[in-house]
């Protein structure tokens, strides 16, 4: 098995053992939330592997949640059915969104996803008879598979992290082999890739739909876990949050999704706990200042993500240091953050 494969097995072992060691409600809930975010962020990073960035990932997350919630609560379907159904629905929606937008230049694509995200969020708030509006949807049935009823944090812990590990494994697989090489080629040079027969539009669409599906699955599980959803966790702020997680981990680095989700969520917990002590004013989202600065610092100094950036830094210190900001420090076609890619660990290179 490859190095990545063993890494996953090790991770699975640690995760399985964790609840036996630290099983407080707070820790479990936190881990569950992190697990869901890992899935969403890995989806975003998959998209990043083809050179696209989405500012609407939270919209797909939310659509998955609402779809599954409505199908199970109002139509009486079992959540075991509505989660996959919601995922398929959202994937279909992503396909429709992608048709006109994926051929836009990258910076316009970001804006299109921004627009879609905002529109979806507004609809969530406005279509009150369907979605309950700003007050949200209650009484979402819990997940039930066969005889097993998922009601406790622990149940969802195993489910969520099983899904997260699966998501990581599948994403890692996709970035290897012919598909992975094609994606990285598109990232490297669309024109060069097309000249070799790589169907740029088709790969872009596949990855976009997949990344939306990832978010939708996480959203659907979220709905049955918390059993209450409202539009606010699915706003532009949330999309930016997911972007920050992806950026911290490295926009094209699958394992970075894990790292980013963990790091940023933990950071958020710390910030929420500590900040009111320093700034005792009530209300508002001070965290945005910190996240904003974090985002800027990372994109300037660690564009390939924190881990890779630190490794690069070590390498860079060995060479002659460049003055930051000169054109010489970056070659014309270099794309930090969006140009870094995972190496296939198994037999991909002679």
């Amino acid at each position: 098995m490859s190095r990545d494969g063993w890494g996953l097995v090790l991770l699975a072992a640690i995760l399985a053992a964790l609840p036996l060691v630290a099983a407080t409600a707070y820790v479990l809930t936190l881990l569950n939330v992190i697990g869901l975010y890992v899935i969403v962020t890995v989806g975003l990073i998959l998209l990043g592997c083809s050179g696209q960035v989405s500012l609407g990932q939270a919209a797909f997350y939310g659509l998955g949640a609402y779809a599954s919630a409505l199908l199970s609560r109002d139509l009486g379907w079992s959540p075991g059915l509505t989660i996959p159904a919601a995922t398929l629905l959202v994937a279909a929606g992503a396909y429709l969104v992608g048709l006109p937008t994926l051929r836009l230049a990258e910076h316009f694509f970001v804006l299109a996803t921004l627009a879609v995200g905002i529109i979806v969020n507004v609809l969530m708030v406005q279509m009150v008879p369907l979605t309950g509006g700003a007050s949200g949807l209650r009484d979402i049935p819990p997940l039930q598979l066969g005889g097993l009823r998922f009601t406790s944090d622990l149940h969802y812990y195993y489910l969520i992290w099983a899904l997260a590990l699966l998501a990581l494994a599948v994403a890692r697989n996709i970035t290897s082999h012919r598909t992975g090489r094609a994606l990285r080629a598109i990232l490297g040079s669309e024109v060069g890739a097309a000249a070799l027969g790589v169907e740029v539009a088709r790969y872009r669409m596949q990855v976009f739909v997949l990344s939306a599906a990832y978010a939708a699955v996480a959203g659907a599980v979220y709905a049955h876990y918390i059993r209450f959803i409202s539009p606010s966790p699915f706003s532009l702020y949330a999309s930016l949050f997911f972007l920050i997680m992806a950026v911290v981990g490295g926009l094209t680095n699958i394992w970075g999704g894990l790292f980013g989700a963990v790091a940023v969520t933990l950071l958020d917990q710390v910030v929420r706990a500590q900040l009111p002590r320093v700034f005792p004013r009530v209300g508002g989202e001070y965290q945005t200042a910190i996240y904003g600065i974090l985002l800027v610092v990372i994109m300037i100094f660690f564009p390939s993500g924190i881990v890779r950036g630190t490794l690069d830094l070590r390498r860079a210190l060995v060479r002659v240091p460049h003055r930051i900001g000169t054109a010489r420090a970056r070659s014309p076609d270099r794309r930090p953050g969006l140009g870094d890619s995972p190496r296939p660990a198994d037999g991909g290179t002679p």
Partner: protein, 291 residues
């Protein structure tokens, strides 16, 4: 309700003039540097709040406005030097994310400094509202509309009749040739950001007497100004101004005739449509010039 229409149009033109100013800021920076500056709206917010604070320190309105605009220009320059220049040469998406980060940082810092409550600014020329064409127009709205037209004319003259203006335009067209002529694209970038920051600040100070000044006014102003700029094609300043008025009217009309909540969605739907219709081709995007 037919009688509502003139009022809606007047309101639309008023906010539209502000969107036009913000859009101009976008277009200026995009033309010179190729960057989409998502912190543009925050310049307006900073201008309004700084002006309010200065007024609180008993400066006269003209002086407070002037100092506030100057301060925001400095902030814009600082932003360019601290966050854009170090990332110079990066992929355009990296830069867009950076400007998003900066806008978040500005918002958060404003919240810390000024708190969440709205501040009020006085009208430039206090007095009763004007009855116009079946609707009511507050006096400040005349300032908004008038200023936006004046700024457009001023920019037009600057770019077409003055030497520094020509230099900026030349740089926008061909950065490499500019370097050969001794014009530094880096300096042009600094000029663009400083100028756009000033534009944003003016917009904020002009609209604040009507809508109030809060720490989060920049986000929606920026997004709508951005839509306006895209409608104008992102490179065409007069079209961006028209776009601004268009966005203002669409927003006003949808708020009046549909449920107010939907107006945001409609504006972004317009953005989507414009993006999709106006798509750039593969080779064009691949040739995105960075000085």
């Amino acid at each position: 309700m037919v009688s509502l229409l003139p009022q809606l149009i007047l309101t639309g033109l008023t906010v539209g003039s502000i969107y036009a100013l913000v859009a101009l800021g976008f277009v200026l920076i995009y033309n010179v540097t190729g960057i989409l500056n998502f912190a543009q709206g925050e310049f307006s917010m900073l201008g309004a709040l700084l002006c309010a604070t200065l007024l609180g320190w008993h400066l006269s309105l003209p002086l407070a406005a002037l100092v506030a605009v100057a301060a925001v220009c400095l902030i814009g320059a600082a932003m360019e030097r601290l966050t854009i220049e170090p990332a110079f040469g990066s992929h355009p998406l990296t830069l867009i994310i950076i400007t998003f980060g900066v806008s978040m940082a500005f918002r958060g810092l404003s919240l810390m400094i000024w708190g969440a409550d709205p501040y009020t600014l006085p009208e430039f020329t206090p007095g009763p509202a004007l009855q116009l064409l079946g609707g009511v127009l507050v006096r400040q709205a005349m300032w908004a509309i008038g200023l936006s037209i004046a700024v457009v004319l001023g920019l037009f003259l600057f770019f077409s009749r003055s030497v520094p203006g020509a230099a900026v335009r030349a740089c926008a067209d061909n950065a490499f040739a500019c370097r050969l002529l001794g014009i530094s694209p880096r300096r042009m970038s600094l000029v663009a950001f400083t100028l756009s920051a000033g534009l944003g600040a003016v917009a904020g100070i002009v609209i604040a007497p009507i809508t109030g000044a809060t720490y989060d006014m920049g986000l929606s102003l920026g997004l709508k100004g951005f839509v306006a700029a895209v409608i104008g094609g992102l490179t065409n300043a007069p079209a961006a101004v028209v776009g601004g008025y268009l966005v203002g009217l669409i927003e006003s009309l949808t708020t009046g005739y549909l449920t107010p909540g939907y107006s945001g969605a409609i504006t972004f739907l317009v953005l989507l449509l414009v993006l999709v219709i106006q798509r750039e081709g593969l080779l064009h995007a691949a040739q995105r010039r960075q000085a």
